[in-house]
Symmetry: C2
Subunit: 235 residues, 2 copies
DNA sequence: GTTTGTGAAGTATTTCACAGCC
DNA sequence: GGCTGTGAAATACTTCACAAAC
């Protein structure tokens, strides 16, 4: 068996972009697309797209077998089949049940967000530690206490958790989710959390996103203030 | 003048994490921290923290001058002063006015989110193209039509735009913001948008975040289904 | 003629490891 | 003894460039 090096995480991330772009092309009725055209639409080089996709090609080490790519030379990639294979790789062909922890303002907005459901992500259980909200309904679910989390996760086969609690409770809730067997976490709490290697976390944090842009704005200002000598750092 | 290579974007991104961790340490009353301890808290190597910070040290090319770091050898980094310098670099010591485009469910939630204001980000103008909402108040602002955007941005000195419109309107709104002089965009529309090099965009997209995790969940399942032969791809 | 798939080359980023300082 | 700051080494990622396929 060929030594299989792990696929860079950034490739997986970009794969989601390819899926979205291909879905859009499919809606447009386009049936074939070249890496050049796809790259133009996504603002990246054609080589990167081809290289990224090549990570997923079956490599038979045996007798004279050749690699089987998604595309056809001289033509490009068939939109439908390529999209289907990417969706398959990403696990987008099934529905994913999710557990939501924290049902305040943000949590309620998440529970009611139709975009998740449209993409196959369904909140099937909601938890909070405030006794005043436990037992109340939210978007068709009854809010449960945290000590029922473990049992719900096991019974409903939940692998994804959404954390929508204040920063102060973030790590504690994440520890709880992990101890219940959750291995993928969408974290809205504004904290840097610790998880073992085997657990994936994605932080949704608009503040951090803004702060990573103001650096460039501040630099621009300084450059202007510094006068005509500092023209080069314009990016 | 020393040839100044641009600082990697990923370093700027991590700097926001250092700022948050240092602020937390300050609240805890800790006055000095080593790169080792900070790395432990953030889940990264001490060397990376030191290297990242070193990008911002003043390098005097002149006579026998030496670089001046943030830390003190044998001791570590003084929490207060280091935090102050990082906040300064990131441009977090001032308030940033922002323009919000799209005042539907999501847009209203953004306008009313106190977290932005606490960190110095203030929505000072709101726009929509639906005639039914134009003129209505949202969180103390009057919703304006899109064709007033250019004038408002100029008059109020706005450099940051928030896009909270449907995917179909995303690119169009972003083009409008850029033509009005906006150079930093927080994009909630679920589309991959095109911008010139001089404009920064950060996408807030929980769907993409989830899709980039299900890959690992799906692989785990496949590995199990494939049986005992495929143990190595465990993350 | 066009376009893929991919080793090889080129960049970029991370980690090492140690001199210098406290 | 402990810790920073930083060139150098190691690793990771991107782009090139071209043979093979259509």
């Amino acid at each position: 068996m060929v030594a299989e090096q792990p696929i860079p995480e950034v490739v997986i991330w970009r794969l989601t972009g390819y899926a979205r772009a291909l879905a859009y092309l499919q809606q447009e009725g386009v049936s074939v697309v070249s890496s050049q055209e796809l790259g133009r639409r996504l603002g990246m080089t054609p080589a990167q797209i081809r290289k990224d996709l090549s990570y997923f090609y079956a490599r038979e080490p045996g007798v004279g077998a050749k690699s089987v790519g998604f595309g056809k030379q001289g033509t490009g990639y068939s939109v439908g089949p390529t999209l289907e294979r990417i969706r398959d790789i990403l696990g987008l062909t099934q529905e994913w049940p999710m557990a939501l922890v924290g049902v305040g303002r943000l949590g309620r907005a998440i529970a009611g967000y139709s975009g998740f459901l449209e993409e196959g992500f369904r909140v099937v259980a909601a938890f909070d530690e405030d006794p005043k909200v436990i037992g109340q309904p939210v978007d068709g679910l009854i809010i449960q206490p945290l000590d029922e989390l473990r049992e719900s996760v096991a019974r409903q086969g939940i692998q994804i958790g959404i954390v929508a609690v204040p920063a102060s409770a973030g790590q504690r809730v994440i520890n709880l989710l992990i101890s219940a067997g959750i291995t993928a976490i969408l974290n809205y709490a504004p904290v840097a959390v610790h998880v073992p290697e085997s657990v994936k976390v994605r932080n949704v944090d608009p503040i951090v996103a803004l702060q990573s842009m103001t650096y460039y704005l501040a630099q621009g200002r300084q450059a202007l203030q510094a006068g005509a000598t500092a023209q080069q750092r314009r990016d």
